[in-house]
């Protein structure tokens, strides 16, 4: 089998699996900050129970995020050694910054967040929650900056040639604030917040359907509804800015995203469709000139088509890029729709009346997951054949010392491990959700030994060895 395909499949698989978790951590982090803030403000124990419940879910998700994330840092070296030598100056710096500034912060305060409820005062604990959230936001910054540099390289020059060519930094801040960093950063952050907020929404919808923990589920549902409404609407505008950036700096990717081949023609915007690469046609339900309008404000303006690029300089999997892009947009529109519907029903005081709608909300956790994955597949597959846009091809970036057999070994290993991990994750998540928020009792209760409602301690002999 081809080393390049194997290396790409492995990277896509490991990063795709990893990407389920950090966005949830970021989104849940925000929800924890909100809920704990409300608890401190109001003293309402409903919020205390919600926070402590979501901390346990957060811990599970964060743990898997860390475990699957370490792989990624080293996978550049193991499978993409040539890439690593080429971009080390730049990409490596971003990763180093991510480690020392962001990971250390979130992992450090994580200990207090999860274990410190009884050890530190409420304000210190809240501070720790905020630090974990900031740390997670900040870690997203560096990796998105690094990836954005791949998409729109800036602040560098090339030294050496052929096999020894490498990019060297000339301006750190130009590198960090390359043309696409900020837009993509916001897009990723909002996508992450939606992931977490929809998870909270879904779980609470499920509780309401089964008439469990209703005093906690109702207010928490409403809070998460506010969050998803604000951020899914924001995402529309932020996403537009990202796509605008793509139209300017990665025209081949834009052409693939909407299956646009002919440079002299206006570009249509598809609701959904299909790209026939061989015959260079795209068919489906479309808004004629829609893309031209979005990019130039004119329904008739021509947009560079795929034919403007040599076949080796444009993405080869055009239909995949097209479909992933449209899947992401569809999921985003669905999120907006569900949010607005929820808000309207809330205003009409009928929010929890329709059971079928609660079922839809219970499943809505999948929408941001679909959008986040589809969006990244669009970005990365659309970036092909480049790993550094316009400069280094993916096919040239591999580790020369690694054989196909070695990659087959590691790919099978990861596949098995991740399937097991995912099964365990779903099992444990489900158990936690079923168990629901727990009333640990007030501080007085605990100190007097009156209530030890800890599922773990139930099965232990009381105290001692």
């Amino acid at each position: 089998m081809d080393v390049e395909i194997l290396a790409r499949v492995q990277f896509a698989f490991t990063i795709g699996f990893h990407y389920i978790y950090p966005p949830l951590s970021i989104g849940l982090g925000l929800m924890l900050v909100i809920l704990e803030g409300l608890y401190l403000r109001t003293g309402n124990r409903i919020y205390e129970m919600a926070v402590r419940f979501w901390i346990r879910i957060f811990a599970l998700i964060f743990g898997i995020g860390v475990a699957t994330g370490i792989i990624m840092e080293f996978e550049f070296g193991t499978n993409w050694a040539t890439y690593s030598k080429y971009v080390g100056d730049i990409f490596g710096s971003a990763l180093a910054a991510e480690g020392i500034f962001a990971f250390a912060l979130e992992s450090g305060f994580l200990g207090i967040l999860i274990f410190g409820w009884n050890r530190v005062g409420p304000r210190v604990h809240f501070f720790s929650t905020i630090m974990v959230f900031f740390g997670s936001l900040f870690s997203a910054v560096w990796i998105v900056v690094a990836n954005s540099w791949q998409q729109t390289p800036a602040g560098f020059h090339i030294v050496g040639e052929g096999l020894n060519a490498r990019a060297e930094i000339t301006d750190f801040w130009a590198m960090v604030f390359n043309p696409s960093s900020v837009d993509r950063m916001l897009h990723v952050w909002v996508g992450a917040i939606l992931a977490g907020a929809f998870m909270v929404l879904s779980v609470n919808a499920w509780y309401l359907l089964h008439k469990k923990h209703e005093e906690i589920a109702r207010p928490t549902f409403k809070i998460s509804l506010i969050v998803v409404t604000i951020f899914s609407l924001m995402q529309l505008f932020i996403g537009h800015r990202s796509a605008d950036g793509v139209s300017r700096y990665q025209p081949a990717k834009l052409a693939a995203m909407e299956g646009h081949f002919d440079s002299s023609a206006r570009a249509d915007m598809y609701i959904f469709g299909y790209v026939d690469k061989k015959n260079e046609t795209t068919s489906g339900i479309k808004i004629p000139g829609g893309l031209s309008f979005l990019v130039h404000g004119d329904f008739q303006a021509p947009i560079q088509g795929l034919r403007a690029f040599k076949p080796e300089d444009r993405p080869s999997q055009v239909n995949s890029v097209f479909q992933f892009y449209h899947l992401m947009v569809a999921a985003g529109v669905a999120m907006i729709g569900l949010s607005l519907l929820g808000c309207w029903l809330w205003w009409r005081k009928k929010l929890f009346e329709y059971r079928w709608l609660l079922w839809v909300y219970a499943l809505s956790v999948l929408l941001p997951q679909l959008a986040n994955q589809a969006g990244w597949f669009t970005a990365e597959m659309g970036r092909q054949p480049w790993v550094v846009y316009g400069l280094l091809r993916t096919s040239d970036a591999l580790s020369r010392a690694v054989t196909a057999n070695q990659i087959i070994f590691s790919l099978i290993l990861f596949t098995i491990v991740y399937i097991v991990l995912f099964a365990l994750f779903l099992f444990l998540l489900n158990r936690k959700i079923q168990h629901g928020p727990v009333d640990y009792g007030t501080k007085e209760d605990i100190e007097s030994g009156a209530r030890r409602d800890n599922p773990l301690l139930e099965h232990e002999p009381a105290g001692g060895q």
Binding site: I70, S84, A96, E168
Partner: protein, 344 residues
């Protein structure tokens, strides 16, 4: 050549990288040690306590590995690329070990069933052992060197990684971590569990000293070029001297019941060991024994001066910050482990 405190940037970054790796070994070393000895503890309560001793802090400790990887990638990308692509198969095993160590800690306590907990105990212990052995194996191979071609890419077979020296270094690393972890746990435990860990600590001290002596003898006899630096700069004999004293101090402090000093001596031992390794290999990051001209030195692997400059600033700004809140977190959880409703 740009300099900082009299040393060129590249050498500075080599020292920073070494410091990060030492930091990782000292911090995650006791987590891995605690994990590696986990199955020596037989009771459910003992195992819970041992896991909760590292519970709040192991994740932050593991971050140093990520920082180290980033430091290598950013400062010495040629070495980063060569080392990780060369070590492909064992490194994948190491990564899977890391995954399972992480999730076993998180998953174990989620269900009360004895079969569930015993299974995760085994996974946790085996994963910690595999990680410790892999780290030692990779270190041993990096120190002895790997066959590299003229493009400084690995030109050998991964089976050659299992050579006597690397295996000895792997075992010594495991022994070192188990000793370090056991001493850490004595500081965090009470009553019968504490007594048991005191005994285990003494056993692991012996395990470490014996493996260390064997490895050192092997090195002196069969890999003489590693002694070249010390031969050429006899004043550096102070390092092995101090190291021997710090090793000797460990059992002494344990006997006196001063476990904190024993732990500090153990940490100092780890640092001095890595300093010795750094001096032995400097300026090589990856030596190529049959064709030394293909070796990767810190200079041939380095990124640009500007990047080094940025990295050094990051290190100067970041380190005190990390040190500050890490100390705060450690301080929050100081003292003997007390299980509560938030514990694992």
């Amino acid at each position: 050549m740009q300099t900082f405190l009299g040393l060129d940037y590249t050498t500075c970054w080599f020292l920073v990288f070494g410091a990060v790796i030492s930091g990782y070994a000292i911090l995650d070393g006791f987590d891995l040690g605690a994990g590696s000895l986990h199955l020596f503890l037989k009771k459910e309560q003992s195992r819970r306590i041992a896991m909760n001793a590292i519970g709040p802090i192991w994740d932050g400790n593991e971050v140093w590995l990520v920082i180290g990887g980033g430091a290598l990638f950013a400062g010495f990308p040629v070495a980063y690329a060569a080392i990780f692509s060369a070590f492909y198969v064992p490194f994948m095993v190491f990564l899977v070990g890391l995954i399972f160590r992480a999730v076993s800690i998180e998953f174990r306590s989620k269900e009360p069933w004895p079969w569930w907990r015993k299974s995760w105990d085994i996974v946790y212990c085996v994963a910690s052992i595999i990680i410790s052995l892999s780290l030692g194996l990779m270190l041993g191979n990096v120190v002895e060197g790997l066959p590299l071609d003229e493009h400084q890419e690995f030109a050998g077979s991964w089976l050659s990684f299992f050579n006597p020296f690397a295996i000895l270094v792997a075992i010594t690393t495991l022994a070192l971590f188990m000793m370090h972890g056991a001493i850490f746990l004595t500081m965090k435990t009470e009553n019968r569990l504490f007594v048991k860990l005191h005994v285990l600590a003494n056993n692991f001290i012996v395990f470490f000293v014996v493996s260390f002596v064997i490895t050192t003898l092997y090195t002196l006899l069969y890999i003489p070029h590693l002694s070249d630096f010390f031969k050429g700069h006899p004043v550096y004999f102070i390092i092995p001297l101090l190291m021997t004293l710090s090793i000797a101090n460990i059992p002494r402090q344990v006997k006196l019941g001063k476990y904190r000093y024993a732990f500090i001596s153990s940490a100092v031992t780890i640092a001095l060991l890595l300093i010795m390794v750094a001096l032995e290999v400097f300026p090589y990051l990856l030596y190529s024994p049959l064709r030394p001209e293909n070796s990767i030195t810190i200079y041939s692997a380095a990124s640009s001066a500007r990047t080094m400059h940025i990295l050094l600033i990051m290190a100067l700004v970041g380190t005190p910050l990390v040190g500050l809140y890490t100390s705060f977190v450690f301080w929050t959880f100081k003292g003997k482990v007390k299980l509560d409703e938030m514990s694992y």
